[in-house]
């Protein structure tokens, strides 16, 4: 009997508290619930690379102001982590992230794996017409658009004019027709490499390659010699990575680090970018958007020149960048597409461009560059050169469902070559390994 009384008292106490609380909180709760149900929260997985780390939060704040019914949960990660998160989360069919940064050569891979939602039905023809046709091609598979074009990229040769003056080297031509050959570039790099204390380790290296060992930049070397990055069907590399163009380019890369020693070993791609403005590199083959950062630096004197090519070969420049995709299993596709349109279409794409500085994929943003006085003056007149490169010399990375495997194995191969491994056997092993990995797509 005693137990029943205690149980009944507890029950009364618990229900009493619940109802009492409910009675006083009810109106407020009701209001909150109504507000919350009107707000859609979307999860946006973005790259944290500079200058996105600053520009993206500003754009998201602006977007939320203009779209009070959408709240964006922004997560910014380094490139490598984005690829891994996508494989983990989208591979497990999770509904987040809703919007994701998609490296353009990975679009085919993501479509084959069923990660991306086709976007055509969300766009009007006028909207689609804002994108450059070549950028739409890069985001499309089988005639359907899966990744909205966001950024493009190119590379130029930046050089430190103070160090050039110190070495008595004249300024370089900006005319693409007068671009240096790789051979001339290395000779020049020797002149601007300084080992002031003669300890065998230069304080200033002549040349840095910003995306060292990554196919994005390294592929331009065998391609300049007529080499191909992958077989025609995108599913084989047999005989491709071991042809003369690759062997010659591989040997050339190795010599830069081990024979002429004009470029530093053991420096990662992300650190390489910081070496140039800190005066540790006299020249840097670096990204287009760095012009914004360098133009803000005081007491740092620099200029730019076109990307080099191999003597007897053709000029080839790296290109391609991030596009934006929607997770196929997202529960908030409409809101996700609204964010993508906000970032990639004018006028907001122009606002983004002014902060970010990447070559755009939007025709109206390109027109803005053409019409603006700012882009006719040094250093922003670099966009004239960039426009030339993207029109005439840019070759995108290969389109293959196995791009992630291709990129990862090839990066290690270039890194090994850089560190002195035998070029022929490294490329042979790499070819065998990639061939083995592409089997599952055939």
């Amino acid at each position: 009997m005693r137990k029943i009384i205690v149980f009944a008292s507890l029950l009364l106490l618990v229900t009493g508290i619940t109802f009492a609380g409910g009675a006083t909180e009810q109106p407020k709760k009701g209001t909150d619930a109504a507000t919350k149900s009107d707000v859609t929260e979307i999860y946006f997985l973005s790259s944290s690379v500079k200058p996105y780390d600053v520009a993206m939060p500003i754009m998201i704040a602006n977007f939320e102001k203009e779209n009070p019914d959408i709240k964006v949960k922004l997560e910014m990660l380094p490139t490598k982590n984005i690829w891994e998160i996508v494989e983990i989360k989208l591979g497990a069919k999770e509904s987040t992230p809703d919007v994701l940064f998609t490296d353009s050569p990975l679009v085919t891979s993501y479509v084959v794996k069923g990660y991306l939602e086709p976007l055509d039905s969300y766009y009007s023809e006028t909207e689609l017409d804002q994108y450059l046709p070549v950028a739409i091609d890069a985001g499309s598979v089988g005639g359907k658009l899966y990744a909205a074009p966001f950024l493009n990229s190119s590379q130029v040769l930046y050089y430190n004019t103070d160090l050039f003056d110190e070495a008595g080297v004249p300024r370089l031509s900006k005319d693409p027709a007068d671009r240096l050959t790789w051979e001339e570039l290395v000779d020049l790099a020797k002149k601007v490499t300084f080992d002031r204390d003669n300890d065998g380790i230069p304080e200033v290296f002549g040349l840095g390659i910003s995306q060292i060992s990554r196919p994005y930049q390294m592929l331009s070397m065998p391609e300049s010699l007529g080499g191909k990055p992958i077989g025609k069907d995108g599913l084989t590399v047999k005989g491709v990575l071991t042809d003369d163009a690759w062997l010659t380019a591989g040997k050339f890369i190795q010599d830069i680090f081990n024979e002429s020693k004009v470029s530093p070993k053991g420096v990662s791609a992300s650190d390489m970018l910081a070496y140039f403005p800190s005066g540790k590199l006299a020249m840097l083959l670096g990204p287009d958007y760095n012009v914004n950062a360098y133009s803000n630096l005081k007491d740092f004197n620099w200029d730019y020149a076109p990307y080099p090519y191999f003597e007897g070969g053709v000029p080839v420049t790296p290109t391609g960048s991030w596009s934006l995709g929607v997770n196929k299993t997202s529960k908030n596709k409409e809101a996700a597409v609204r964010l993508i349109k906000y970032l990639t279409l004018a006028p907001n794409n122009i606002t983004w461009f002014e902060m970010d500085g990447h070559l755009p994929t939007n025709k109206l943003t390109m027109e803005h560059i053409g019409n603006s006085e700012k882009y006719k003056q040094w250093p922003f007149d670099i966009f004239e050169l960039l426009k030339h490169e993207s029109t005439y010399t840019a070759i995108p990375r290969p389109s293959t469902p196995g791009y992630l495997e291709y990129e990862s194995v090839l990066t290690n191969a270039f890194e090994d070559i850089r560190n002195g491994a035998d070029v022929a056997s490294t490329l042979k092993d790499t070819e065998t390994r990639i061939e083995r990995m592409l089997q599952k797509y055939r």
């Binding site: 891994e84 891979s109 084959v112 070993k265 495997e405 890194e415 560190n419 990995m437």
Partner: protein, 290 residues
């Protein structure tokens, strides 16, 4: 005293939370890995999964890169475990006796373990940079030619063994100090009265009395190092020339980069089997015979 049924159940009830943790975070994932290791995904017509029998196991066991990774794992484990335990034991012998300032030394030796492995790797990566890193600058003071460290296939694994040991020895030292302090002083006093020298006391008292502690430290250190790949992931990506590519890292890459979940899980199962075998042998060899 006869225990009631209720009393006999008490220890099992206390074990339930630990068992649930073990089941959810260890046993179920291992079981799920085992199942996945027999499944393959084909991408020829969308992503389709099918039962693969032993083909994932055959595929990975004929992969020269995985076999090289297994070899690296063995070399790494065989060197790193004795290296860490000897280093930790020497440090423990230096500081286990109570005395003035001993706590300060113990703290100093333990501090590296409080730094995460990721930070340790990053800091040592900067110090081992062949172009003007701190280590080469110090070597230069003694006219020793600069090392290539993480960029050389001959030095990279050794460099990683050193940096992970720098962090770990302080941790193992704590267990060894506890073991040393547990040895009764009366044993040493009796030996001294019998005329035993210091090295004889060490060999015939300290070492046998430490056997159980060594067993724990060796088994725990082996399991930790056998699965370690964070420094390789952060510093070398498994290179140069696969010299630091360990089996667990290769399994990770298979699952999360190479889109080969079945192959990666087959690698994990092979690793689990090998580790069980090694730990079994360690128990067999090191368990003191009563």
């Amino acid at each position: 005293m006869i225990q009631s049924k209720r009393e006999r159940l008490v220890p099992y009830i206390f074990l339930i939370p630990a068992f649930l943790g073990l089941a959810f975070f260890r046993l179920i994932p291992i079981f799920s890995s085992l199942i996945d290791s027999f499944i393959t995904t084909s991408y020829t017509n969308g992503a389709t999964k099918k039962f693969a029998g032993l083909s994932n196991y055959i595929f990975v066991l004929t992969d020269p890169v995985f076999l090289r990774a297994l070899l690296n794992t063995f070399v790494f484990t065989i060197i790193v475990n004795p290296f860490q335990i000897i280093w930790a034991f020497v440090m423990a012998l230096l500081v286990y006796r109570p005395g003035k300032g001993m706590n300060i030394f113990r703290t100093i030796f333990f501090i590296p373990f409080t730094i995460s492995l990721a930070i340790t790797s990053t800091i040592w990566g900067i110090m081992l940079n062949p172009n003007g890193g701190l280590v080469n600058s110090i070597l230069g003071l003694f006219s020793i030619p600069p090392g290539e460290f993480l960029t050389s296939h001959k030095q990279a694994l050794g460099s990683i063994i050193f940096l992970v040991s720098w962090r770990a020895v302080g941790y193992w030292m704590i267990f060894l100090i506890a073991g040393l302090q547990n040895i009764s002083q009366s044993l040493y006093e009796s030996a001294w009265i019998d005329g035993a020298r210091a090295w004889q006391s060490f060999l015939y008292i300290t070492m046998p009395m430490m056997k159980r502690v060594f067993l724990f430290v060796i088994v725990a250190d082996t399991t930790q190092n056998f699965l370690m790949f964070a420094p390789m992931y952060i510093l070398t990506g498994g290179g140069p020339q696969n010299s630091t590519n360990v089996a667990m890292y290769e399994a990770y890459k298979n699952v999360f980069i190479y889109a080969d979940r079945g192959g990666g899980n087959a690698m994990v199962m092979i690793m689990i089997l090998l580790m069980l075998l090694i730990v079994f042998l360690e128990f067999k060899i090191l368990i003191p015979k009563e």
